[in-house]
């Protein structure tokens, strides 16, 4: 039934979504530029010369550079594990990805419950006589331990996203390849290095891009576990908008998030270009 109207149906159906996204996303992007760049003094200049910039850059880098590699490694091994068929696999798989449904504030509070001075870990260790005084994870004097708590929270909470993407890739690998590897007597490490990793490279790339983007936006665990002692790009946006009521400086920080996202995204695409013959 090809009628002239029918040809336009898909465009008519798509139009509302496209218009909505164009308005709510394109408009703010342009407006962010004007908020961040123009003013007297320009908020961007203010941010670039502020004494906080160094600290923010340090902690943002530190968290991303430790959390994301750990998540990729865990996700790869978890994917290998879940390729096995075993009883109860469905349940274990559900539990493993369950934190995906938990927001960052809740996840941070969960790990606060585990690690606070009267939390699970400390009470357990004290009651069993392993230690006599609680180990402190939070507070100004313990920034390195606080970072460890943030690391744990992030790995616990956000590894499922990385896992789902990498697992999807691993399911695509033909069983024949792995069986052939077994025939040739390759060990697990060789199988990973020469068969699995090259084949799931594009998925690792996607996982890296998505996870880095989300990691740059994390505010909950930082505010909740570190208070004002640790600052990252995203917490600066919230702080400058909600506490200091300064949309200009908040936008400048937001713009930095956008720039870093673009930069890292480009870097991943360049570094992980599929090698010839891999696909």
């Amino acid at each position: 039934m090809p009628s002239p109207l029918r040809k336009h149906i898909p465009y008519i159906l798509v139009a509302p979504s496209l218009a909505y996204l164009a308005f709510f996303i394109s408009y703010p992007i342009f407006y962010t530029f004007s908020l961040a760049l123009f003013g007297n003094p320009s908020p961007m200049v203010e941010v670039m010369t502020s004494p906080r910039l160094g600290e923010v850059a340090l902690y943002t880098t530190l968290i991303i550079a430790t959390v994301i590699p750990a998540q990729i490694v865990i996700a790869i091994f978890a994917s290998l594990f879940f390729l096995n068929r075993f009883r109860g696999r469905e349940l274990v798989l559900y539990l493993f990805i369950a934190p995906l449904a938990i927001n960052e504030v809740a996840a941070a509070l969960i790990w606060y419950t585990m690690l606070s001075s009267s939390g699970f870990l400390n009470k357990l260790l004290i009651n069993t006589g392993v230690i006599s005084a609680p180990i402190y994870f939070f507070g100004y004097e313990f920034i390195d331990r606080t970072l460890l708590a943030i690391f744990l929270t992030e790995v616990w909470r956000a590894t499922p996203i990385v896992f789902i993407i990498i697992y999807a890739g691993m399911q695509m690998i033909s069983r024949d390849y792995l069986e052939a590897a077994d025939v040739f007597g390759l060990n697990l490490w060789q199988k990973l290095r020469y068969i699995i990793l090259p084949l799931i490279k594009p998925y690792i790339q996607t996982a890296l891009i998505i996870r880095t983007l989300f990691a740059l936006q994390v505010v909950g665990p930082i505010f909740i576990l570190a208070g004002e002692y640790v600052r990252v790009l995203a917490t600066e946006v919230v702080y400058w908008y909600s506490m200091r009521l300064n949309p200009g400086v908040a936008s400048a920080w937001a713009l930095l998030i956008g720039l870093v996202t673009l930069l890292l995204g480009g870097l991943y695409i360049k570094l992980l270009r599929p090698s010839a013959g891999a696909t």
């Binding site: 898909p10 159906l13 996303i25 703010p28 009470k123 998505i210 909740i224």
Partner: protein, 267 residues
Amino acid sequence: MRRVWVFIISMLIIAWITVPITYTILSSFADLVDYYENVLPRRYTLRYYEEYLRLGVGEALVRSVLVGILTIILSMIIGLPAGYAIGRYVFRGRDSLKLAILFFKVIPIAIMAVPLAVLFIRVGLYDTLIGIALIHTAISLPFVVLTASSVFGSVPRDLEEAGYVFGMSGLQVMLRITLPLAAPGIAATALFAFLISWNEIVAAIILSSFNRTLPAAVMTPYVMGTGGELPDPYKFAATTIMVTPALIFMLYIRRYLIAMWGAAGVR
């Protein structure tokens, strides 16, 4: 040997996930004195929930639910037709459209939130539930469109054609064949949209000042630097309220997660 390893790793995963969640939920019902003394609390109370909900958190909870429902309604009305078009029709520009939608998925929320807050103040949408729902719709729309397109794409075309053969109109085929078959996937998409809204924090906190949704309200004292003064049981109660419905929804959504996330970027 292999079965032993599978068992050990399974147990480690189960413990890694369930111990922190269960312990937090358990602590939210624990009597405070008891909580500080014992690893496993022995006396339980609902006192802290009652107090905490009365402190304005009850209203934040209601707001979160309302914003979530608004987000479902908006993102379904706007997104389902697009999902249907992408899943069902072959048309010029379809691939670039998919790419554009993927691109919208990876825009930092902070970049969207600050300018929209400035705009919303001007038009009277700042600090309203609709205002927050509007941005949550923008965040969830790419997911809704892409998931719906894979859901509609998996409805067998033969069945639709059979409907036409029996003389049904296009609308009848849509209502009596396509939609019922796609219903479970669409329900999962709706729940996912709700979950995105239920868990979203950055936009929710920037676009409101008094009428905050639950996670934003829970985080507010921490942003102001007074979070440490909040009594511990309130923290546990807040967590339990936020986590429980999310985990239940997840049970239903999990089958569709690969379509939502796994396909991202790579196809």
